[in-house]
Amino acid sequence: MEALQTNDLTKHYRTGAFNKKNIPALEKVSLSVEQGEIFGLLGPNGAGKTTFVKLILSIVHPTSGTATILGYPLGQRTLKEYCGYLPENHRYPAFLSAEHTLLFLGRLNGLPESVLKEKAHALLETVGLKDWAKVKTKKFSKGMLQRLGLAQAMINNPKILFLDEPTDGVDPLGRKEIRDLLLRLKAQGTTIFLNSHLLSEVEMICDRVAILNKGKVVRTGTITELTTQKLAYIVQLSSPISKEIRDRLQQTILPIEYHDTNLIVTLRDKSELNQIIDILREGGIGIEGMTQQKTSLEDYFIQIMKGENGQ
């Protein structure tokens, strides 16, 4: 069963008091997130990532389209009982301590007082703020507020967790801890929907991602699907190749790259692979291995964005 399913979800903002202007923020976004997976939503600033999450949580109203979250239609209050949300640039009451912030937000989730305190303490320990429980949040650094934000998002044991830039302002060690925590939550069956600019992190923990640009989904797939270049191979050779063999290869296939004993080839179609093997064998070069070339998610993202923006 899908944890989240959207169909042609569209949001146009109207601005201006008198001369109303229509600003499209999302255009017919159809996404599907499976239960128990970590799904990343990527996109440049203003792509509509935050608007998408806000639509799901009824913080903004859709212009058109439908969505279901854990089987509940959009706008139903009950569904929020199963959702946790860490907004971007969240603010907590400065006069409350970390513990009281969690107690207050736990009450808004409808949790009984009998379990709240215990739960708040356990969560503060999980996010590494146990020793700061009694300290007012106005004294917290950005990274600490981010950890507190994560704790409040988890206070109701959500089935689906929406995180908007969860590691923003967190140091590398803290980021690792957050990644580990998210993976633990995933192992427990929690679905995680992640909005992030940190593509290396997304690459490390997300099962699937969607790339959003100017309010439209331009790519969806698993990390492997997106980062694997289907017709680019790295051939590991037993010994360096001569200039003669290199010239023969270049006449046969598209440009090649040659580093040490690694040959990187980009094919027009898979049949060209046999030709390469034949040329190498004829030249007495042994083949030790062959793998499909991968790019980083970041490189892929930049490549897609350049293509989309016509650069």
């Binding site: 907004p87 009450r107 808004l108 989730n109």
Partner: protein
């Protein structure tokens, strides 16, 4: 549970507001001065003293000096209570709408209606707690030191709370639309001036233009908006009759009843607006 969670939070936030803390300090000071200063002259129990000196209060034959003192104290303080109340809690609605705060609140399983009303009620209660503290304090001092337990004076705190709840409907809608504490305070004070002008329309605004349609329009506004000025006046009238102004009408519930409908309308409009907004 969720509603009370937000209500409790708003109340505690309101009570920590600098303006209300300042009001609390002033109120405590006045209560201390009165508790130490006011008394009866041992030789003549009919004479009220202030730090041992007799207070010279003269009036008509049936003049009740203590009741008169309470009325004066009430009419002087009620305006300041409301002023501090508006200044203290008017920002709570726009603060709720700040980016990062409203997202968090709306992501919780709390309806927008619950959120708005818990916030409004918590704000009103923040002001009310301070006001009840002052009125109850004076009531106790007058009761213990002068032996006068004026129930009307004590009851006036309920009516004042109600009047503030009505006024807060203006603060709420202004705060939701402008999303600014400053604008919302300005609009609320503009409203109190309009309410005062409408209350005295027969002696003032009617004179500007002798036109029936214009007069009916003013009447419509008077009955269509919370009758704030009339409610404040009636809060004082419940204590007793001012001996220096015997022509003033007796206490009446009517401004409270009319204001109930206009307040419901304003809160209804606020909710309608809040429910339609994207944050």
């Amino acid at each position: 549970m969720r509603f009370w969670g937000m209500f409790r939070f708003t109340l505690s936030e309101a009570l920590r507001k600098g303006t209300l803390l300042f009001y609390f300090g002033i109120a405590t000071l006045i209560l201390l001065i009165l508790s130490f200063g006011i008394g009866r002259q041992p030789s003549d129990q009919n004479v009220i003293t202030f730090f041992g000196k007799p207070m010279i209060l003269s009036g008509p034959i049936s003049f009740n000096a203590i009741e008169f003192l309470l009325i004066q104290l009430h009419s002087l303080s009620s305006f300041w209570i409301i002023l501090f109340g508006v200044l203290g809690v008017a920002g709570l609605i726009p603060e709720m709408l700040e980016k990062g705060t409203i997202d968090l609140f709306l992501s919780k399983p709390l309806s927008r209606m619950e959120l708005l009303f818990a916030r409004a009620l918590g704000s009103v209660m923040g002001m009310s707690v301070n006001m009840i503290y002052f009125i109850f304090g004076i009531w106790c001092i007058f009761g213990l030191k002068l032996g006068v337990w004026n129930t009307g004076f004590l009851a006036s705190s309920i009516y004042l709370t109600y009047a503030f709840l009505c006024l807060f409907s203006v603060v709420t809608i202004a705060g939701l639309i402008t999303r600014s504490a400053g604008f919302s305070i300005m609009l609320t004070f503009a409203f109190t001036i309009i309410a005062w002008g409408l209350e005295l329309r027969e002696k003032g605004l009617y004179m500007i233009w002798d036109n029936t349609l214009y007069h009916r329009f003013l009447d419509g506004l008077y009955y269509g908006l919370p009758q704030f000025d009339a409610m404040l006046a009636n809060c004082t009238r419940i204590i007793g009759k001012n001996p220096f102004n015997p022509n003033v009408a007796d206490f009446t519930f009517m401004p409270f009843v009319y204001s109930f409908f206009s307040t419901c309308l304003l809160y209804g409009l606020s909710l309608w607006y809040f429910s339609r907004q994207d944050y």
